[in-house]
Subunit: 259 residues, 2 copies
C-alpha cells in the first residue's frame, strides 16, 4: 500500500498513487474520510486528488457520494501484458476444458507470496468458489498455489513457511514438513491437489504451464465439489496446461519481436 | 486522452494521469520519448513520473527499456464495478451459451460513442474476431452496437451519424436512413445482426440485457463464421440475455444496499 509513507517528502504524484492504492477487493467502495485516513492525507488534499481522478475517469462517484474505480482505469489496467497475453492464449483451452467437464476452470500466477487469479470460468451448474478474478489466495492451501510453490525457487517456500501456514480450514496443511513432502510429489507428478484445504466443500486439481525456458509461467486448475473424484480430472488439466505452454512456445518468436 | 492540455496550470497529479493515459490497446508498450511526446511533457518530467509509476507497480519496465502496464494497476482496475459486477453475473450464462453453441460469446456496454467489450469467451474451434477485452468498436457496424443504438436515447444515434458512419467492410451500413430502419427492426425484435459489417468472414447476433427499470445495461452476442446461419442462434442469445437480466433483478436489492 502507498499509505505507509510520511507526508514529508511525498510528491504530489505519490499522493495520487496512494489514493488509488487504498482501493482493494475487500474495500472497492470508499468514502472521502476513509480514503483520507487510509492514504494518510489531509481530507482537503484527498478531496482535491479525488476530484482530479474522477474528472479523468480513474474513479467514479456513486449517487450516494462514495468513490469506486472507473471504467477508464479498467481499460488501461487491462493492457497489463502478463494478464492480457497469457489470458488470450489460455482462454480457448480453458473453454474447452470447461466444455469437457462443466467444472470451474481457473488460471493463476504468482504475485509475491500469493496466488493471483487472472481468470476463472464456470457455468451456472459449477460449484461456488471463493476465488475472484484479480483476487489473491494463499499458496499453501490452493492447488494452483502448490504448483507455484513446487516449481519456484526454494526460497519462496522458506518465505511462506516463515510467515506461518495459516489454517484456512481444518484440512489445510499447516506443518512445514508435510507441505515439503507434498511439494516433492507435485514436482514428480506435475499435478497438485487441494482437498477442502482452502474452502470446505471444494476440491481442486492444478497443473503447471511452463514457458519456453522451462520456467513456470502460470498454473491451471479445475475446482469441483469435494464429493467428486477430482483425480479423474488430472489428465484433462495436465493436457490443457501443456497445450497452453505449447501455444505460447509457438507464439514466442513473434511475441519477443513485437512492436 | 489527458495529453491535450497545456503545460501551464497542469498539476503534478494531472501530469501523472497524462502519462497513464497514453497507453492504449493500439500502443500498449512505449518508449520514454514516445510517452513524453504523447503526454506533452518534457522528457525529464516524464522520466521522473515513470520512475514513480514503476516503483508503485502501475507500470513495468521491460528488459529492453520500454514501459508497459503493470499487474498492480490491473488488480485495481479490475475493481471497476460496471465491469466486475456485470461480468460476475453474466459469465456463467455466457459459459452455458458457449457450451451449447461452441461459438464466440461477447459482452459489451456503451462507452461514449463506442461499444466497449467487457468480456469474450470462445474455444479453440471458434472463429477469430477483431474484438479485444477492454477494446472498443463502432456502434453502427456491430451487433452489440446496434442493440446499444436501438435502446439508448435517440440523441446517441444523431451523434454517431454526425461523426459519419465509417465503412469498416463493403457490407457496413453507411446510410443513416438504412441504419434508422434497421434499428426500428431491432427495437421490435430485441435482436440485432451484423453480417460481415465489422469483419469479413464473421457474423454476429446480439440481444439486450435490461436492468430492473427497463434501462439497457449491456448487450450479449454470439459471433460465428459468416457462412453459418446466425439466425438460428437468436433464441439462445435472447434467452441468455433475459436470464442475465433476471439474475441481476434478483440481486438488485442486496446490490443497492451493499456496503
Amino acid at each position: 500500500m502507498g499509505g505507509n509513507t510520511r507526508e514529508v517528502g511525498r510528491t504530489s504524484a505519490s499522493r495520487l498513487l496512494a489514493v488509488l492504492g487504498v482501493f482493494s477487493a475487500a474495500q472497492p467502495v470508499l468514502t472521502l474520510s476513509e480514503i483520507a485516513e487510509a492514504s494518510e492525507l489531509p481530507a482537503s488534499t484527498a478531496h482535491r486528488l479525488l476530484g482530479e481522478l474522477v474528472e479523468w475517469g480513474a474513479l467514479e462517484r456513486t449517487s450516494d457520494g462514495h468513490y469506486q474505480v472507473g471504467l477508464r482505469l479498467w481499460r488501461i489496467g487491462s493492457l497489463a501484458p502478463q494478464q492480457r497475453d497469457l489470458r488470450a492464449v489460455a482462454l480457448p483451452f480453458m473453454e474447452d476444458l470447461y466444455a469437457a467437464t462443466h467444472e470451474n476452470v481457473q488460471l493463476a500466477i504468482r504475485d509475491g507470496k500469493k496466488a493471483l487469479y487472472l481468470d476463472k470460468i464456470g457455468g451456472t451448474r459449477s460449484v461456488d468458489t471463493v476465488t475472484k478474478v484479480a483476487g489473491r489466495l494463499p499458496l499453501h492451501a490452493t492447488g494452483v498455489g502448490k504448483i507455484i510453490l513446487a516449481f519456484s525457487e526454494p526460497e519462496l517456500l522458506h518465505l511462506v513457511v516463515e510467515d506461518g501456514l495459516e489454517r484456512c480450514t481444518p484440512h489445510t496443511i499447516t506443518m512445514p514438513g508435510r507441505l515439503a513432502e507434498t511439494l516433492r510429489r507435485v514436482r514428480a507428478d506435475h499435478v497438485a491437489y487441494s482437498r477442502e484445504e482452502m474452502t470446505m466443500g471444494a476440491a481442486s486439481v492444478a497443473a503447471p504451464i511452463f514457458g519456453v525456458n522451462a520456467q513456470l509461467l502460470a498454473s491451471l486448475a479445475i475446482v469441483a465439489h469435494s464429493s467428486s473424484d477430482v483425480e479423474r480430472f488430472a489428465p484433462a488439466v495436465r493436457t490443457a496446461a501443456l497445450s497452453v505452454g505449447r501455444r505460447l512456445a509457438d507464439l514466442s518468436a513473434p511475441v519477443s519481436a513485437r512492436r
